[in-house]
Amino acid sequence: MINDTTLGYLILILPFLTFAINGLFLGNKNAKAAAGLAVTFNGLAFASAAMVAFHYFTSVVAPQKVVLFDHSFIPFAGELVARIGMLIDPLSVMMLVVVTFISFMVNIYSIGYMREDRAMGRFFALLSLFSFSMLGLVVATNLFQMFIFWELVGVSSYLLIGFWYHKPSAVSASKQAFILTRFADSFFLLGIVLVSYVVGSFDFTTINSLTMFPFRNETIDMGICVMSKSSALILGSILIFTGGWGKSAMFPMHIWLPNAMEGPTPVSSIIHSATMVVAGVYLVARLFPFFAVCGDSLTLIMWVGAFTMVFAAVIACTQKDIKRILAYSTLSQLGYMMFALGACKIGQAIITTGWTASTFHIFTHAFFKCSLFLIAGSLIHQVHTNDLDAMGGLRKKMPLTYACALISIFAISGIPPFSGFFSKDEIILAAFQGQHYAVFALALLTSGLTTFYMFRLFFLAFHGEPRHEGVKAGHVHEDFFMTLPVVILAIPALLSGILGKGLFEHFFTPGKLHVPTMLKLAHAEWIPFVAIGVAVLALLIAWFLYASPKAKIQRALDDTNRCGIYKIIYHKFYFDEMYYTVVRQFIFGGVARVSRAFNDYVIEGLLAFSIWFIHKLGDLVRTAQAGYLPFYLGTLIVGVLIWRFFGQLPL
C-alpha cells in the first residue's frame, strides 16, 4: 500500500515521463509503442488519482486542505517564495480525477483517431505534456506555481491546435489562441506581481485568509495614480480574473475557442471542452475567499459569465460545423460556471451554493462534453467533414454512438435523471437565491437554447436521410478504439449527477470566508420544474423543425434568403472580422509602424546628421589646405594673434 505522497508524485510524473520518452526517444518512428506507453501511463495516473481521491474522501480530514509536498522553487525577498507543491482538497481532488480520467479516455480514443497520421508519436507526447501541465495547475499550492503551469497549458494547447502545421488555418488558429490567452496572462502576471507585492506571499492559504482592514489606510503608487492598498487588492483580483477571462474564453476574448477547433478532435475534446478552458473557472473557485473579500470583482465575473452564456448559445443555434456548435456550447456552459461563481454575492454578503453548483457543473460537464466531442470526432472520421450538410441518417450505421450521443445530449440539456440536470439546476437555483433575477431569467432562457441547438445537431446528424455518398454506400463502421471511450464516458454522463450530488453538497465549500455569509436562503422547489419545462419545450421545437415528418431539412440547411439578423448571428456577430481589423490596422499598421518609423527616421537620422556634420567640418579643414603659400604664411601670423587673444596668457 503506497502512501499518498508517492501517489501524488506518480500522478505528476507519469504523464511527464510519457512526454519525455515519446518526445525524445520513441517519436514518430515507432508510433505504436508511443501510443501504448501513453495509454498505459495515463491509465496508471488515473488509477493513482482515483486512489488518492478514495483515500482522501474516506479519511477524517476530508474537507480540509492537505499539502502532500511543497518544495521551494526559487526564493524571492523574505516570505515571498515560489514553491512547487501539491495541494489536496475536494476541489483539486475532483479535478485530478476528472483530468486523469478524461486524458486516459482521450488517449485510448486517439489510437483510433490518429491511426493514419504520420506524426502520431509527437501527438501522444504533446497530449501527455498537456495533461502533465494541467495536473500541475490543479494541484498548485500558490499563484506562482499556478502561473507556471498555466503558461505550460497554454503552450501545449498552442502546439496541439497547430498540430497539422501544414494547414494554414490551423497555424493561424493556434497563433490566435496563444496570443489571446497570452494577452490575458500578461494581466494575470501583473495581478500576481501586484497582489504578491501587497500581501507579501503567493500562497493560496495566505491570500485566501486576507481581510481588507489592514490595507485600508496604506497607499501604493500605481504610477498613473496613487491608490489605497485595499483598492489595489481589488484591482489585483480583477487582473487575476482577467487571466481566467482569457483562458476560459469569456466574451470578448472568446473568439479563439471556436477557431481552435482546427486542431484534431481529441485535442478539442480534452483541452477545449473538458479541462483547460475550465481553468479560468477553477482559478476563481480556488481563490474564492479572496474574491469574496474583494466583493466588487464578483459582480463583474457574474455579468461576464452571464453574457457569454447567452451570446454563445445564440450563435450556436445557427452554426453548421458540428465542432463549432460544440465549441459555442462549451462557451455557454463556461458562462454558466462563471456566473454561478459571481452570483454568490448578495449586497455585502456571500452565499456558497453558487460555488458548489459551479464546481459540480465543472465535474459533470467534463464528462458529457468530452463524450460529445469524441462522438463528433468519430462522425467526422466517418464522413470526413465537419459540416452538418454531409451528415444525417447515421443512426442506423452507428447505433452505439447514437445511444451515447443521446445520453450526453440529454445530460447537457438538463433533462433528469441525466447528470447535467443536477448541476445546471443547482446553478439556476443559486442565481435565484443570489437574488440576481435578470441573470436567473437569462439562465433559464439559455438552458432552453442549449436544448434546442443540441437537438438540432442531434437530429440533423443522426436522423433523416443520409446526405453523404460514403454513408449511402455504407462504408461507415464503428472503430473499436473510438467507440470504447465514448461508451465508457456515457456512464458518468448518465450517473455522475445523481451520485455526485450528495458528495458535492457534503464536502464542497469554498473554505473559510472572511465576509458575512448568508445562511437563511430562499427555497424554491418550483425552479427544477420550470427548467425541465423550458428544456422539453425547446426539444419539441427542435424536433418539429428538424426531425418531424414534415420538417423541411433542406430549407433548414441552406443559408440563402435568410433574414439579416440570422446572417449576423451566423457570422458570429462579425467578431473575427473586427478582431482582424483591430490587430492589422491598429497593432501592425499603427503602433508598430510608428515605432519603426521613429527608430528608422529619428534615431538613425540624428546619427546620420552628426556624421554629416563631422564630415562638413573635415571639408572645412581640407579647403583651408589649398596649397596657397601666402595663406599658409598668413596662418602663422593669425595663429600668433589667436593665441595672443584666446591663449589665456596673463598679457
Binding site: 521551494s72 522553487f73 526559487i74 526564493p75 524571492f76 525577498a77 515571498l80 515560489a82 506562482f144 502561473f147 507556471i148 503551469f149 503558461e151 505550460l152 503552450v155 498552442y158 497547430g162 502545421y165 501544414h166 494554414p168 497555424v171 493561424s172 497563433k175 496563444f178 496570443i179 497570452r182 494577452f183 496572462d185 500578461s186 494581466f187 502576471l189 501583473l190 506581481v193 501586484l194 504578491s196 507585492y197 503608487d221 500605481m222 504610477g223 498613473i224 497593432i587 501592425f588 503602433v591 508598430a592 509602424r593 515605432s595 519603426r596 521613429f598 527608430n599 534615431i603 538613425e604 540624428l606 546619427l607
Partner: protein, 512 residues
C-alpha cells in the same frame, strides 16, 4: 591549483592563437581541430571552477576586509608606470558569466566550421574575442578591465567586415565605432575614479572602500553608465546592434549578442553602480524612462521586420532593456533578476543566432516571407528555433521565465513612480514578444513548403550538438534555478549593501 586554472581561462585562447601562427592556412582541418579542442578545454575548466565556487560558497574570502567575496584572487603588480595591477578573481556573478562565455565561444567555434574566407585568421580572431570577454569578466583592476573591454573593437570590425554578409562594412563600422564611443566615455571617467576617489589605485576593491565626492559622481556616473549601456544597446544607443548583428557571421552574432552585450550591463552593475551608488540612486530612476523604448517599442519594431537577424536583434534589445529594468530597481531581487537575465539571454540569443545561421546556410536567405514549411525539411533546426522562441517569450521551464519573474517582482518593489509605470508596461508587453516570435516561427517553419527548398537537409551532428547543449543549459537554469540564485545572491549582496548604505544626497538636482 584552482588559481592557476582560473588564470589559464584567458591565457589558453591566446596560446591557441600563438600555436596556430606557424600552421599554414591550408591545413583548415587541423586548425579547426585545435580551436575546437582549446574551446572545449576552457569550457570544461570553467564549469569545474564554477562548481568549485559553488562549493566554496559561505566560506569567508581570502581577504576579510574586502567588500567583495572573491575566490582565486590573484594580484600582481603590472604597470608600475601608472600603478596598474593584474587583479583577477571570481565570485558567483562573473563565474557564471564566464561559463556562459565558454559555452557560447564553444558553440561559435563549432558552428563556423565551413565559413568562407581565411579560416586561420577567423578562428584566431574568435579566440582573441574570447580572451577579451573572459578578461572583462575576470578582472577587478580597472585598467585591466578596460584593456580587455576595448580589445573587442579590434576583432569585431575585422570579423564582421571580412566574413560577414550584406552591408558588412557598414555594419561593422557602425558597431565598432559605437562601441568605441561608449568605451571612450568610460575611459574619461576611469581617470576621474582613480584621482577623485583618493585611493590612487585602479583596484576595484580599494576604490570601493572609499567614498567618491558627490559633485564628481553626479557627472561621472551618467557618463560611465551610458558608456557601458552603449554596448548593451540601451536606447538611444541601440542603433548599432541590428545592423551589426545582421551583417556579422553566425559565430560573431552569437558572441556579440550572447556575451559582449552583457559586458556593458556587467560593467554598469560591477563598476558604475558599485563604485558610485549615491549618484546611481539619483540617476537611475530617470534612466528607466529610456527603457520604454527598449522594452515596449522594441518588440513592435521587431514585428515590422522581415529579416530574421533584425528580428532577433530587436528582441535582444528588448530583453536587454529588461536587464536594465532589473538594475534600475536596485533591489536584491531586481539585481539578481538582471544577472539571471544576462546569463539566460546569453544562452537564448546564442541559440537563436546559431539556428538562424544554420538555416541561412541552407536557404541562403533570411527573409521570412520567402521561407515557409521548412519545419518539414529540417525538423531539428526548426524545433531548435521554436524552443529558442519559447524561451525568448519567457515560457516557464526555461531560464528566461525565471529571470523575467525576478526582474518584474524586483522592479515592482522599487517605489519611484517612473519605475512603476515602466514595470507595468514591461509586464504587459510580454504579449508583443509572443506576437512577433510566433509570427516569425509560423512564417518560417509552418505553412506550405516552397518548391526551391525541396532539397534542404537537416542539421548535421555538429550543429545538433550545439543546439542540444544550449537548450540543455536553458532548461537547466529554468528547472532548478535555486543554486544559481544562491550563487548570484552572494555576489549581489555586497553590491546591494553598498547601494543601500549610500545616503541620498540633499541636493537631488540632476547634473549638479
Amino acid at each position: 591549483m584552482d588559481i592557476l586554472l582560473f588564470n589559464l581561462i584567458w591565457v589558453i585562447p591566446l596560446l591557441t592563437v600563438l600555436v596556430c601562427i606557424p600552421i599554414p592556412a591550408s591545413h583548415a582541418k587541423l586548425l579547426r581541430g585545435l580551436h575546437t579542442a582549446s574551446a572545449s578545454a576552457v569550457l570544461l575548466m570553467v564549469c569545474y571552477l564554477a562548481y568549485r565556487v559553488f562549493m566554496l560558497s559561505g566560506t569567508p574570502a581570502s581577504d576579510a576586509a574586502s567588500p567583495l567575496v572573491l575566490r582565486f584572487l590573484t594580484d600582481i603588480p603590472w604597470l608600475t608606470m601608472f600603478n596598474a595591477h593584474y587583479i583577477v578573481g571570481a565570485d558567483g556573478l562573473n563565474i557564471l558569466l564566464l561559463a556562459l562565455t565558454a559555452f557560447i565561444v564553444w558553440g561559435g567555434v563549432l558552428v563556423s566550421y565551413n565559413i568562407k574566407g581565411n579560416q586561420k585568421v577567423f578562428f584566431a580572431l574568435i579566440q582573441l574575442l574570447a580572451t577579451s570577454v573572459y578578461g572583462v569578466y575576470m578582472s577587478f583592476d580597472l585598467v585591466l578591465f578596460f584593456v580587455f573591454y576595448e580589445m573587442e573593437a579590434l576583432c569585431m570590425y575585422l570579423m564582421i567586415a571580412c566574413y560577414g554578409s550584406g552591408r558588412r562594412d557598414y555594419g561593422g563600422k557602425k558597431l565598432t565605432l559605437t562601441l568605441a564611443f561608449g568605451s571612450s566615455m568610460i575611459l574619461a571617467t576611469l581617470f576621474g575614479l582613480y584621482f577623485e576617489s583618493g585611493a590612487n589605485s585602479w583596484n576595484l576593491i580599494e576604490i570601493a572602500k572609499t567614498t567618491i565626492p558627490m559633485e564628481f559622481q553626479m557627472w561621472a556616473f551618467p557618463l560611465m553608465f551610458m558608456g557601458f549601456a552603449v554596448s548593451s544597446s540601451l536606447f538611444p544607443f541601440h542603433f548599432w546592434s541590428p545592423d551589426g548583428h545582421s551583417a556579422a557571421p553566425t559565430a560573431v552574432s552569437m558572441l556579440a549578442a550572447g556575451v559582449m552585450m552583457k559586458m556593458g550591463a556587467y560593467g554598469c552593475l560591477r563598476v558604475a553602480m558599485f563604485l558610485m551608488p549615491e549618484a546611481a540612486k539619483v540617476w537611475l530612476p530617470y534612466v528607466v524612462a529610456l527603457l520604454i523604448f527598449n522594452v515596449v517599442l522594441g518588440p513592435f519594431i521587431a514585428l515590422r521586420h522581415k529579416d530574421l537577424k533584425y528580428i532577433t536583434a530587436y528582441s535582444s534589445i528588448s530583453h536587454l532593456g529588461l536587464i536594465f529594468l532589473g538594475l534600475a530597481a536596485m533591489t536584491p531581487v531586481g539585481l539578481r533578476g538582471a544577472s539571471l537575465q544576462m546569463i539566460s539571454h546569453g544562452f537564448l540569443t546564442g541559440l537563436f543566432f546559431a539556428t538562424i545561421g544554420m538555416i541561412y546556410e541552407r536557404t541562403h536567405t533570411r527573409d521570412i516571407t520567402e521561407m515557409g514549411g521548412i519545419m518539414r525539411k529540417m525538423p531539428f533546426l526548426g524545433v531548435g528555433f521554436v524552443i529558442a522562441g519559447f524561451a525568448g517569450l519567457g515560457l516557464p521551464g526555461f531560464s528566461g521565465f525565471i529571470a523575467e519573474s525576478n526582474i518584474f517582482i524586483g522592479a515592482f518593489q522599487q517605489e519611484s513612480t517612473l519605475t512603476r509605470i515602466v514595470t507595468i508596461l514591461a509586464i504587459l508587453s510580454i504579449t508583443t514578444t509572443a506576437v512577433y516570435i510566433l509570427q516569425t516561427a509560423n512564417r518560417m517553419l509552418h505553412g506550405p513548403l516552397p518548391q526551391k527548398y525541396e532539397g534542404l537537409t537537416d542539421g548535421c551532428f555538429r550543429e545538433k550538438l550545439v543546439i542540444v547543449v544550449l537548450v540543455a543549459c536553458l532548461l537547466f537554469i529554468g528547472v532548478c534555478p535555486g543554486p544559481f540564485a544562491d550563487l548570484l545572491d552572494q555576489s549581489i549582496a555586497p553590491i546591494f549593501a553598498k547601494i543601500s548604505a549610500a545616503t541620498q544626497p540633499v541636493t537631488s538636482g540632476i547634473g549638479g
